[in-house]
Symmetry: C2
Subunit: 64 residues, 2 copies
DNA sequence: TCTGTTTGCAATATATATCTTACATATGTA
DNA sequence: TACATATGTAAGATATATATTGCAAACAGA
């Protein structure tokens, strides 16, 4: 898994569609971001982070 | 200023062109990101952050 | 003055994120 | 069984990030 969107979303017990609507995106976009197959925009990443109560680093930053 | 890319880059005394080349982007793209007029991709944001020795939150996160 | 460096800005072209629509599958529940 | 919900996936259309090229301005140094 390349990011922590899916885990965090499931912890909050909300669906892909609920998250999508709250950030102004579609369910498909959320699904692809969770799979790590997308390179989402910064604005969308920030909207998702705020909605999930996390920061950019907590959801997307990778330490090596 | 919407993000801290320009300040951080100038602290490191590197040019837009040097940063652009090291992250595989163009000078124009870096310039527009610094002005906050762009919505860059997550991958580019991470490349810039790594190159500047910062994290996503340090460069792009906004607390309100 | 002249020259090189850095940055801003603009027009056009290209790549790709995102949307729209649709169908399939798995799961839970009546 | 039947129905609803949640998710995966795919094709085509649209929006926009990014590249390319070029020109201009500001500045420093010779």
């Amino acid at each position: 898994m390349k990011n922590r969107v899916k885990i965090t979303r499931m912890d909050l017990a909300i669906t892909q569609e609920q998250l999508a609507k709250s950030v102004g995106a579609t369910r498909q976009t959320i699904g692809l971001i969770e799979k790590g197959e997308y390179n989402p925009s910064l604005h969308l990443c920030m909207a998702i982070a705020r909605e999930l109560g996390k920061t950019l680093d907590e959801l997307f930053w990778e330490v090596e």
